[in-house]
């Protein structure tokens, strides 16, 4: 263990340089986040992730956001275990009928002010699952969405750019 920890010190950080905020994300947030909804959160955001019907592809890349390479916590962004602790709901998947109520309840349990980030092509337009009888629709058809980060799945870097835009916009 000591050898492993010492090596980590000697090798230097694995982390990448911070990317610039995503231009698309800034444009979408400029319209979705009105001046009234902006709050001084001290550049700190707590995120609760909700899988509303994803294939688990997006979850894998959201996990990667927390790895030492992307290290999302250095931007003040933290994943939390309860919607009651969250400022942002990060939602994936086309919303399935079987998950609709759980998503609505999670949204209701999140204290205001709150924002919703829809992840992936499925979150935007249901992706390959569009038209499925067991699918309600995209996330915006169930709860209000402030920011979309498309991709199948979006890369951690894409998500990082979107989230930095969110922090910048709200700070």
């Amino acid at each position: 263990m000591r050898w492993l920890l010492l090596r980590s010190l000697l090798e230097g950080p694995a982390v990448i340089d911070p990317p610039a905020p995503g231009a698309d994300a800034l444009a979408e947030l400029a319209t979705s986040l009105g001046d009234l909804s902006r709050r001084k959160l001290g550049r700190s955001l707590s995120i609760r992730e909700v899988d509303a019907g994803s294939c688990n592809g997006c979850e894998l890349e959201i996990h990667a956001l927390n790895n030492p390479v992307y290290d999302v916590e250095r931007f003040g962004i933290k994943f939390v275990a309860s919607p009651r602790h969250a400022d942002v709901l990060m939602v994936t998947g086309p919303v399935t009928w079987n998950m609709k109520q759980a998503l609505e309840r999670t949204y209701a349990a999140t204290p205001a002010p709150k924002w919703v980030v829809a992840i992936g092509d499925c979150g935007l337009n249901c992706g390959v699952f569009a038209g499925g009888a067991a699918v309600v629709g995209p996330i915006a058809s169930v709860i209000p969405v402030d920011l979309h980060i498309p991709g199948c799945p979006p890369t951690p870097l894409d998500m990082l750019k979107g989230l930095i835009a969110l922090v910048d916009r709200m700070a």
């Binding site: 980590s8 694995a14 994803s54 294939c55 990667a64 790895n67 998950m99 390959v128 799945p153």
Partner: protein
């Protein structure tokens, strides 16, 4: 009157030759169907899948020792047929799913409760002629004093898929876990019906996004078998490379997460860096971090660039040294081993009865690996040992994964060394009327099974996908019994079952 005796697949198969896809196809009558179901319970063969298609119900039966696999079909009477689960309980959730989603009606099910149908669909499932009248769901009752229940989910505390777990405990001691799944049911099989092959290939790649390479691989093999389509040799080797990179990335990642659940965060960080390394190499070599949609019917959609093999080799070297360092710490940390050894035991008899695939089966002595037992290209010519353990605990599942990390690295090197320049796809043959094809591919989680029926125009008439998790989820309920609540995350992560692949 004599009671029916269990029948063995082996005895029925005399003279039957397997189709192009390696599966024998048999039509049976009701008594034989029931005797085969009893044969599953008697351990004469393994149950692989059950599905309903156009008035027929079919089950996949496997006899890995004799090297036989067969799709046995029975004509139903308006969907009705004798339930397999009446004799063989591992069929229970498969038949509840079949009943909830379509026109099949298993008669005599021991557990007739809803499964995928949560009673919230605006319409009956497509093709379902018998929507369930009772939409309520009752968990198994508990009797006695001092028990309490802990409901968890469907929205969990971590970044994971949704499912509901109902623990019955006394203090910290769990005496029963009951799972309730189906939350991410997207209607995949219904979406695939009538769609063209390219669209269904994209859907199949997203049945379970973490096993996207394995699902695309299985779908491609099934379609190729149906159409008599042969991918070029270079594509076949590249498929193997992608499948092994996927396996490597998950095994390393999951070992890291198991350490994380025992609060040894430094090991998880090291594993996460290795996983990121593999995904970046995958993106560089094949154009997608998860290699989604890179295996297509007829070949592969991305060729390895000239410097690709060298990039993969650099990554493999790093995996070898760093993962060995991680496992040295794992093996020398009593506090970590205290959490994994003897935790979450799956008895070998249970793993065999459920025909559990992947590391769950192999850590409990079931030496089944689709790459070895029913080899598909390129694995027929690849030499590797199937890793098994007998202990069946979290630690055994960790070590099976570690062994597979080593064998995957060796397989990738072997396949890369055999690569020669050439085309990566072959053109699709014209469909010669309706056709069927099946395939079984070993994902990091276990054997993925895909069955397709193509109509005369070459469109997909019916897709059936069976995730390895279908036979692993029930064993998780058994594994946690008698453990403490705090050890559930370790057990769960050591299984790492798919929700999306199970719910479809």
């Amino acid at each position: 009157m004599n009671a029916p005796a269990p029948a063995a697949l082996n005895d029925l198969l005399q003279g039957d030759t397997a189709g192009r896809d390696g599966f024998a196809r048999l039509r049976v009558d009701e008594p034989t169907w029931t005797r085969l179901a009893m044969g599953c319970a008697a351990g004469l063969h393994d149950l692989g899948a059950i599905w309903h298609d156009a008035g027929d119900v079919s089950m996949l039966l496997l006899d890995p020792r004799a090297g036989h696999r067969a799709i046995v079909s029975l004509a139903t009477v308006a969907g009705a047929y004798p339930a397999v689960s009446r004799h063989h309980l591992p069929a229970s959730r498969l038949e509840r799913t079949l009943r909830d989603l379509g026109a099949g009606r298993p008669v005599g099910m021991p557990d007739p409760r809803n499964w995928i149908d949560h009673g919230v669909w605006p319409n009956a499932a497509p093709g379902q002629t018998n929507p369930r009248p009772d939409k309520s769901y009752e968990f198994l009752p508990i009797e006695g004093e001092g028990w309490h229940q802990i409901p968890v989910g469907p929205v969990h505390a971590g970044i994971i898929e949704p499912g509901h777990f109902r623990f019955t405990a006394n203090g910290e001691l769990v005496v029963r876990l009951e799972e309730r799944l189906g939350y991410v049911h997207k209607g995949i099989e219904a979406l695939a019906a009538g769609a063209d092959i390219d669209k269904v290939a994209r859907i199949a790649a997203r049945i379970s996004g973490d096993a996207t390479v394995a699902y695309s691989f299985a779908f491609a093999l099934a379609v190729e078998a149906a159409l008599g389509w042969t991918p070029p040799p270079r594509a076949t080797l590249l498929r193997g490379v992608m499948a092994e990179l996927e396996r490597l990335s998950h095994h390393i990642n999951d070992v890291g997460f198991i350490c994380n659940d025992a609060s040894v965060v430094a090991l998880q960080a090291r594993c996460a860096i290795l996983r990121e390394d593999i995904l970046q190499v995958a993106a560089r070599c094949f154009g997608h971090r998860l290699m989604m949609d890179r295996i297509v019917p007829g070949g592969v959609a991305a060729d390895l660039p000239a410097d690709g093999a060298a990039a993969i080799e650099t990554c493999l070297k790093r995996c070898e040294t760093d993962f060995a360092a991680v496992m040295r710490v794992y093996d020398n940390s009593p506090s970590l081993l205290d959490r994994t050894v003897t935790t979450g035991v799956v008895r070998p008899e249970l793993a065999a009865r459920f025909a559990a695939g992947g590391h769950v089966g192999r850590a409990s002595g079931r030496a089944f690996d689709a790459r070895r037992n029913f080899p598909y290209a390129p694995y027929g010519e690849v030499d590797f040992a199937v890793a098994t353990r007998r202990a069946g605990d979290v630690d055994a599942r960790v070590w099976v994964r570690v062994d597979e990390v080593h064998s995957s690295i060796a397989i990738i090197r072997d396949l890369l060394a055999r690569l020669t320049p050439g085309p990566i796809t072959t053109p699709r043959p014209v469909a010669q009327g309706p056709a069927v094809g099946a395939a079984m591919v070993e994902s990091f989680r276990g054997d993925v099974f895909i069955h397709v029926r193509l109509d005369a125009d070459g469109k997909v008439a019916r897709l059936h996908a069976r995730d390895p998790s279908c036979f692993q989820w029930p064993l998780l309920e058994a594994a946690i019994e008698g453990n403490i609540v705090a050890d559930f995350p370790l057990c769960n992560k050591s299984f790492n079952c798919s929700y999306s692949g199970h719910d479809l």
